[in-house]
């Protein structure tokens, strides 16, 4: 009788995970081992050929490496942009704090398509951004920004910022202000206090932020597809092309599994590397 209610409490979570995580992944992994057959989703029998192909052909390996590096770059940029925002947010009180929360969350309030069409309009050759720069005399002919990787990075940093700002803000708020006064009274400059005290103590917020943004950036499809054009092949683009372009579902599944595995390996390595720090600073 004791155990039953507890099991019952856990049941919804277990069901949720089963239906939305375990079953789809199981299906995807199964699919990745099926044989391909032109003209059909998949053929008869099972094979490991797709993995052999995915792990030996330069096209796929390059795309994977580029995707991971790209994600790492976006994550770093996101951290650099987010930290000062999180800092100000953690100091703000009352209405100002509320306003900041709204501003930070604003990228998530707009649907992905609308947001990206917005970017297209803003950076268009005769869009407001170019016109403003022309008017100020910074440039003498309009810049072509659409379909560049810089714009993709900018747009992704923009939309992922809330995932970085919010947990860091939370961690910064949890730092006892007296600890900073203690550091000051011990004759330590603000700069040194930041690196010795604030930065490590905010790590419990940085870690989830970094992981979340990295995973999201690795898997981002819509924004690169809309704003980056088709010149650079990234993993998610390849997966989609394989699935709905060449209609080779087993190969597409193998690519997707490889991408997810690679991202997970990076996350696990990162967690292991920061495990000691995390142990020290956990509340």
């Amino acid at each position: 009788m004791q155990r039953l209610p507890r099991l019952a409490l856990g049941l919804p979570a277990v069901l949720l995970l089963l239906v939305f995580l375990v079953l789809p992944y199981a299906e995807m992994i199964t699919m990745s081992f099926r044989a391909s057959q032109p003209g059909a989703m998949y053929g008869l029998g099972f094979t490991a050929d797709h993995y052999r192909k995915v792990m030996t052909e330069g096209l796929y390996l390059d795309a994977l490496a580029r995707s991971l590096l790209n994600a790492a770059f976006i994550t770093t940029a996101c951290l650099i942009v987010s930290y000062p925002i999180a800092w100000h947010m953690s100091r703000a009180r009352g209405r100002k704090a509320l306003l900041l929360y709204a501003c930070v969350a604003s990228p998530l309030m707009i649907g992905v398509l609308i947001r990206n069409f917005g970017w297209m309009i803003v950076v268009n050759v005769d869009g407001p951004f170019n016109r403003a720069l022309l008017a100020m005399g910074v440039i003498d002919k309009p810049m072509r920004l659409l379909f560049t990787q810089g714009l993709v990075a900018l747009a992704l940093v923009h939309v992922f910022t809330p995932f970085m700002v919010l947990p860091i803000n939370n961690a910064l708020r949890n730092i006892n202000p007296a600890v900073l006064e203690a550091s000051e009274s011990l004759g330590v400059s603000r700069f040194a206090t930041f690196w010795k005290v604030i930065f490590p103590l905010s790590f419990p917020g940085m870690q989830p932020g970094l992981i979340l943004v990295f995973v999201l950036a690795t898997a981002a499809y819509v924004t690169p597809a809309l704003l980056g054009g088709q010149m650079v092949s990234l993993m998610p683009t390849l997966v989609v092309q394989t699935l709905i372009g060449t209609f080779d579902w087993p190969l597409g599944a193998a690519l997707a599994v490889m991408m997810a595995t690679a991202a997970m390996v990076v996350v696990i390595l990162f967690s292991l590397a920061t495990h000691r720090l995390m142990e020290r600073v956990r509340a």
């Binding site: 006892n176 007296a178 600890v179 006064e181 203690a182 550091s183 000051e184 009274s185 011990l186 004759g187 330590v188 400059s189 040194a192 010795k196 005290v197 490590p200 103590l201 020290r280 600073v281 509340a283």
Partner: protein, 354 residues
Amino acid sequence: MSSVEISALRKRYGEAVALDEVSLTAQQGELVTLLGPSGCGKTTALRCIAGFIAPDGGDILADGVSILATPSSKRDFGVVFQNYALFPHLSVAENVGYGLLFRKCSKDERERRVAEVLDQVQLGGLEHRLPRELSGGQQQRVALARALVIQPRLLLLDEPLANLDARLRDDVRWLIRDVQQASRTTAFYVTHDQAEAMAISDKIAVMKNGRVAQFASPREIYQRPVERYVASFTGEANFLGVQVERELCPGRFRVRAGSAAFDVKGAGPFTPGTKAVLLARPESLAIAGVVAGQLQGRVTKSVFLGAVQHCEVVLPDGASVRLGVPPDRSLPPDGTVTIKLDVERAWLMPEVAA
């Protein structure tokens, strides 16, 4: 290791006056306690001295030089915070050595000094623990060691014992006093516990609503308080309403309480014929046989505590006094007693604060 002079310090938070013309001095090596009830401005005063907040007016001098323009990080004052404020991610040794990291101090010397001060506060062997792995008393001692290791010019302690149990409180209090005296560090100590203040201080500033009601040695504060507030905040106190008859000689007055007359000490000046308050601590009162010219009263309560019994006696004018009686002494069945006042230990105060 310096003398500190605080003059006419003022601080307001909006409408609330946190500090009102606070003036204090601490000679080199002295421990000065700020004593007062919650919200009277003790922490505010300490934070002004530490440099965490700027006062609205007044000045703070260290060795004769104003430090108001000096940022906290350049004042060289060691602060012990009420809730310790240890660095949660640093070990005991790293916490204590933190203040030396950015000073001209070699690694060897730093380690030596950390070991030395940890030894002083009896924390040897715990160097590698994190603060969350320590008991409250141990954390308190780390906080003390961290402030001491930089050999501060001034030590500031904000209710350092508030979170400790009674036993530990005693130990750490003696430790603080010993270490402070051994290093001859000038210190300001904040507490709202009068016994703690009495035991540890060279001087006590009793604070009331942002003002210093009295600033003097513990003995002076206890025996010769300037007003009722100070007397009642520094220990058990009985107040008798009396009428001043005349000044016998400087500092001694004849007063009348009902039918009894006493020649008591007081600071004066008192105008003959005016009302005044006579402070009689419980230890200056005793129950005597019937003696003329003494106070009569009726025992309304008595509790036996082992070593003494405490009585509450109501006087004819309705005032009640508390006193201790030897435990073997039996009280008269009708409760009527005569109270003998030791006039040398009583103290005459004006009705309202000067």
